[in-house]
């Protein structure tokens, strides 16, 4: 139900460390905002696009992953054509497209586990300040993945109950029961976690 956007593959970009890819994304997102020259932005766009398409995604998968964001960029570019000079619009579109494609390439080549390792490192300073515990973040993440299918099954049961009674399925009549039924489990789940000593309290 909630499968990762990672794609199996052995391209060179798969083998680059996740940290390096995230730093590259950060540098790229800052660097591309400094320049407005199409001579730099066009090659950046073509390189990022080429990289994204070389990862082993079928063209259809590749498009469906970034299609929505690309659509928003193009709509805003069309609006911009009336408001700001054309060369600027071209620069803006190339820059955003390059960034989006590079970001999609990072997402497609980094596993959840590898990402979480980096997140844990980023959380270390906060942990030292006593603001949170990195282990809690992983635990919460695990809980979400564990309970999404359960909550979805509950949603289907509530829609089913609506249908059986001939009621229209409206968000208003579904959200209330769905949230109450789900959050009522919190005490049991918390007790189960503490009973197993997962948080060492």
């Amino acid at each position: 139900m909630l499968t990762s956007l990672y794609v199996e593959g052995g391209s060179w970009f798969h083998r680059v460390a996740v940290r390096a890819k995230l730093i590259a994304l950060l540098v790229l997102s800052l660097g591309l905002f400094v320049t407005n020259s199409p001579l730099l932005l066009l090659p950046a766009f073509l390189l990022c696009g080429g990289l994204y398409l070389s990862l082993g995604l079928t063209p259809r998968q590749a498009l469906s992953r970034v299609g929505f964001v690309v659509f928003t960029i193009l709509v805003l570019a069309a609006v911009n054509l009336f408001l700001i000079p054309v060369p600027e619009v071209v620069a803006l579109v190339l820059r955003l497209m390059a960034l989006v494609l590079f970001a999609a390439a990072v997402t497609a080549t980094a596993t959840i586990g590898a990402f979480m390792d980096e997140v844990t490192i980023l959380l270390k300073p906060l942990e030292r300040l006593g603001l949170l515990r990195a282990a809690d973040v992983s635990l919460a993440l695990g809980l979400v993945l564990r309970f999404v299918p359960d909550i979805f099954a509950r949603y289907e049961a509530i829609s089913e109950a609506h249908r059986a009674r001939g009621l229209p399925i409206r968000p208003l009549t579904i959200i209330g029961p769905l949230i109450i039924l789900t959050l009522k489990d919190a005490d049991t789940i918390a007790a189960a976690i503490d009973a197993r000593g997962f948080r060492r309290q």
Binding site: A104, V137, A140, I151, P171, I174, I179, L183
Partner: protein
Amino acid sequence: MNTRDLVLVALFAAIVVVLGLIPPITLGFIPVPITAQSMGVMLAGCIIGAKRGALAFLLFVLLVAIGLPALSGGRGGLAVFAGPSGGFILGWAVAAFVTGLIAERFVHPGNSEGRQFVGFFLASVIGGIVVLYAIGVPWLATVTGTPLIAAATGSLVFIPGDLLKAAIATLAARAVYAGYPLLPARV
């Protein structure tokens, strides 16, 4: 934070993921279909309060960032942050926090039903619309180069839909508050 709070945060983040799987509703008089997920910010603040609501959204945004297609329509990954609406996604946690603060301040168990409705609606409108747009629109203007005034005027198209979402979130939050109150009180 005790274990129960941690579990409530995780369960609410999971609820927001499921709200994204529900088919969006289309209404005749509003051009864009309404996804149940976009009510999540208002619901989180009004139902589990400022701190836990904000944490639930930080967790949800983390899920999206590490490459899970948790956004409605199966979107996700770092590309959505790089796109024009990245500011709205990053603003969710702040919006949920403000929604929660206002709801905690204005909604108390002793209030009349009408007053609770007003409290939840105010919280949803100020936190879930005003604060969210105050972060998302300048971000969009910066990233896409659209002049701020034009970006702000353009976003007005979404305001009727958002007010409707606030109304639905208010009714749902009040139903949960009556059935299983979790909102901390703040004087």
